[in-house]
Amino acid sequence: MIVGSQKPIEEIWEMVKDFKKILVFGCNTCVAICHAGGEKEAETIASMIRMRAAEEGRDILVDHMGVMRHCEPEYFDPVMDEVKKYDLVLSTACGVGVNFLSDRTGNIPVYPGINTSFYGAVPEPGIFEELCAGCGDCILHMTGGICPIARCSKTLMNGPCGGTNKGKCEISPDVDCAWYLIVERMKKLGTLEKLSEVLPPRNWSTSRDGGPRRISLEHIRAYEEQEEKKSETSGGKR
């Protein structure tokens, strides 16, 4: 899931202080699970802004609301009329949600209420760990299920480097060395000899380096486009 973390109230305040009617808009999926931007956190942020406004003697109306997801229009469409009554939407969704929503709110700005951090897992309550970087060309089968792109500080394809130290990374004794983990895991799996092969340099165009990514599923689109055409020829517009 996508993991986010709240922005300091000071930063939020600087963003919002000149608006009169603010909606703090929560997203109840990924960012709710990491206690950053669900409806509950939206309510907390709204309360913080109101308090700050009161402290500064500013008259700002701040409400909150939440929908299941900000990244699919069907979830927020039903409340769009309500959303458009405000002059600022502070979305506590991930960056995807903020982008997606701001494409649809016309002249009402949508600002980010949280920092979108990474794709992560929840090993235990209150802990979120980055385990994938979304590089677009998965090699986990070659690295014992441990991703060196996301988990090695240098994103090395052939490790470990000289900075490995008793299983920890040189950047911090709190950070595991991903390549140490890979070696240990592959020993356990009995596939250590695979590591004797040198992995070739990667083609990073499947990752951010290839520009914005978009996936279009032909098999689904073909049907969708057919349906759209049908409704157009029958005089209606979907």
Binding site: N28, A32, K40, T44, S47, M51, M68
Partner: protein, 698 residues
């Protein structure tokens, strides 16, 4: 269940709507009238006594009576039995009733007749009274006919005053009559008024005459002085007609009425009172606690003897010849006693009172359209509660056979609804009879282990040597502290957490933090009610705001914060403190705090959300105290670290806004100590004063 139209907003506890759709707590399911026991015990625990009373009364118009004599199936069903002992529910009801005497008097009001239909009710026992109550509430004209000089049926004429003080019964009757019910006492149908006249004058008639006649025995010697029947005997006592009994009284029978008769004879001064019954001690139909109370009063019981003949000398009773009982029930479990004629005995007595059961008296139905079957019972349709005659209904023991007062109340509710629908041209047929309700399963062992053992607070009785001299009520009510302590034992079955599946995103938070293992998350979270202990820890933790509590949801409090905290006086000299106080214990009595401490009672501090603390500051509070019970007195386990973490986070947040982290504190008190709240709140108030009062424009 009372007709829906009789339920007012006032009588609906918070969360009532949700509650109706869920399995009932076992106490509520066991009550024939489905009294929401868990809700009213919870309200008592919070010191909200009149609200507790309203919950009781919303389904039970004879609340005072039941607070004295109910056989409390709720207690037998209480899930605390698996931990230690059941809640003393009936006694708590008595406490709520006693605290609400003035309140209910002030609430009595005439309900104008809005429907152009009139109903005659024959009999004013629990069933007739309940039907009168419900039909009057619905706006019908109701007339109650009672052959005795007072209303109440058996409650007034047969239940001895030492068990049911008449002023308690009168409270219930006054409530019902105040609604505009016409009362015709000393009016026997068939003698003073004829049934056909009633039928002519009314749109519907209800026969709720109960089992008002004693059965007698067909044995030699039974006729003549010295042998009495239970009901006439009890009626004579009730109406002060001073029945003549000797010094050596023998009661035949082993039921609850037999116990009443024996204990009454003892109170009339008989030096020697004993009972004889067919059954063994285990088989006796009387409630065990009543038998125990009789034994305390020196009433001897001879088990497994059957009456053979009353022996008389010169017409005077000498005693009862009895024969040994071999078995009371046959192989099919039916009452069919067998005797060993070779074993006989003789019990000396100068007075014998026969208490072997009651029957109906249908002499007034002679020549009426109401048919009686071959076994002397009214022909009726249990679905519609109508007799064979159109518009003539039946309810209570007349048709159900011997039962409890509260079962008769349930029957009265149903017949009132049946009559109401009938008069609207509809029928109750096919509507579920409300008797069977799905209930929450027993406490799982894993939960039992996590519940502190806390024995039930004993109900005190006046000593037998004192109480036998008088018809004074023998049981001593709880004082406030006792009631709060006992009510605090309730585990809140059925009042716990529910998930809004539209909001749940299956994040596992609830499953991870619940100390009792109640939530199971699959595609959404399901909180298993048999595990849930209603602490409320999960609700504020849910990141989607998908969990709410059936009873006393904290949002109820959040919405009232503004009015609780009130308007800030810019010239105040004392800091205004919002204090979230755990209410579920004796400490409620210590809530008499100085005015600058604004009380926010919560069921448990685990229900206080970070947003609640922030909201208090938004409303202008100078400080926020979250006052929880200390480790020794908290009724839940495994919640304090979460409460502490929330307070810590709230401190961080208000620190960020510049209000100052020091303005929130988590305080803990021993909840059994009444004054502890004041001490900790005053101390906190002093610390906030040092930090200074906030100057914020609101």
């Amino acid at each position: 269940m009372a007709p829906q139209e009789t339920r007012t907003e006032e009588t609906k506890p918070y969360g009532a709507e949700v509650k109706e759709t869920r399995p009932y707590s076992p106490c509520r399911a066991a009550c024939p009238a489905h009294t929401d026991v868990q809700a009213y015990v919870g309200l008592i625990a919070q010191g909200r006594y009149t609200e507790a009373f309203e919950v009781i009364r919303s389904v039970n118009p004879i609340a005072s009576v039941c607070s004295m004599i109910c056989h409390h199936p709720c207690e037998q069903a209480c899930r605390r039995c698996a931990v230690d002992e059941p809640l003393a529910v009936r006694h708590l009801k008595r406490f709520a009733v006693e605290q609400s005497a003035d309140y209910r008097r002030s609430k009595r009001k005439l309900i104008p007749q809005t429907k152009n239909k009139n109903i005659a009710i024959i009999g004013s026992g629990p069933s007739g009274l309940t039907a009168a109550n419900d039909l009057a509430e619905l706006g019908y004209g109701v007339a109650v006919y009672e052959r005795h000089p007072v209303l109440g049926g058996m409650l007034a004429s047969a239940i001895p005053a030492y068990r049911l003080p008449r002023e308690m019964l009168q409270q219930d009757i006054d409530d019902v009559v105040a609604k505009g019910v016409e009362v015709r006492t000393n009016c026997e149908i068939g003698k003073d008024v004829h049934l056909e006249d009633l039928i002519k004058k009314h749109d519907a008639v209800l026969i709720a005459t109960g089992l008002s006649q004693s059965r007698s025995l067909n044995i030699p010697g039974v006729e003549g002085p010295g042998v009495l029947l239970a009901i006439p005997f009890l009626e004579d006592v009730a109406f002060d007609r001073k029945p003549v009994i000797g010094n050596k009284v023998l009661v035949i029978g082993g039921g609850n009425v037999a116990i009443d008769v024996a204990r009454t004879a003892r109170r009339l001064g008989a030096a020697n009172v004993s009972m004889v019954c067919l059954e063994s001690a285990e088989e006796m139909p009387a409630w065990k606690w009543e038998v125990d109370e009789a034994l305390e009063e020196d009433i001897a019981i001879s088990h497994r003897w059957g009456p053979m003949a009353v022996r008389r000398k010169d017409g005077k009773v000498e005693g009862l010849e009895v024969v040994k009982v071999m078995s009371v029930f046959d192989a099919d479990g039916r009452f069919n006693p067998s005797f060993d004629n070779n074993q006989t005995s003789f019990i000396e007595a100068d007075t014998i009172i026969i208490t072997i059961g009651q029957m109906t008296n249908f002499s007034f139905l002679k020549d009426s359209p109401v048919k009686i079957d071959g076994r002397g019972r009214i022909e009726w349709n249990p679905e519609t509660q109508m007799s064979s005659a159109e518009g003539i209904f039946v309810s209570g023991e007349v048709v159900t056979g011997p039962g409890s007062a509260i079962a008769a109340v349930a029957s009265g509710h149903r017949v009132a609804m049946a009559i109401h629908l009938y008069l609207k041209g509809k029928t109750i047929e096919g509507l579920p009879p409300e008797q069977e309700k799905e209930k929450i399963a027993q406490l799982p062992d894993s939960v039992v282990e996590k519940i502190n053992r806390e024995p039930r607070l004993k109900i005190r009785h006046i000593a037998p040597e004192v109480r036998c001299d008088t018809f004074m009520h023998f049981e001593i009510g709880y004082d406030e502290e006792e009631a709060l302590r006992e009510a605090g034992r309730c585990r809140g079955c059925g009042g716990g957490a529910v998930v809004d599946t539209k909001k749940c995103m299956a994040c596992l938070t609830c499953q991870r933090i619940c100390p009792y293992g109640a939530p199971v998350v699959t595609s959404v979270s399901e909180i298993r009610p048999e595990y849930c202990q209603a602490c409320g820890l999960c609700a504020p933790e849910c990141p989607g705001g998908a969990i709410s509590m059936v009873n006393y949801d904290v949002r109820e409090i959040r919405n009232s914060l503004k009015s609780v905290i009130g308007k800030m006086d810019p010239n105040r000299d004392k800091p205004v403190i919002a204090a979230f106080l755990c209410t579920h214990h004796v400490g409620v009595k210590g809530f008499d705090l100085p005015g600058n401490i604004r009380k926010v009672p919560v069921h448990c501090t685990s229900r206080v959300d970070i947003v609640d603390m922030l909201k208090a500051f938004e409303c202008g509070a100078d400080g926020v105290a979250v006052v929880r019970c200390d480790e020794g007195s908290c009724k839940y386990r495994g919640i304090n670290h979460r409460v502490a973490a929330r307070v810590g986070r709230a401190k961080q947040l208000i620190g960020m806004v510049g209000i100052g982290a020091g303005r929130i504190e988590l305080l803990s008190v021993n909840s059994a100590a009444k004054d502890a709240y004041r001490t900790v709140c005053d101390g906190f108030s002093d610390r906030i004063k040092e930090i200074g009062l906030r100057t914020v424009r609101l």
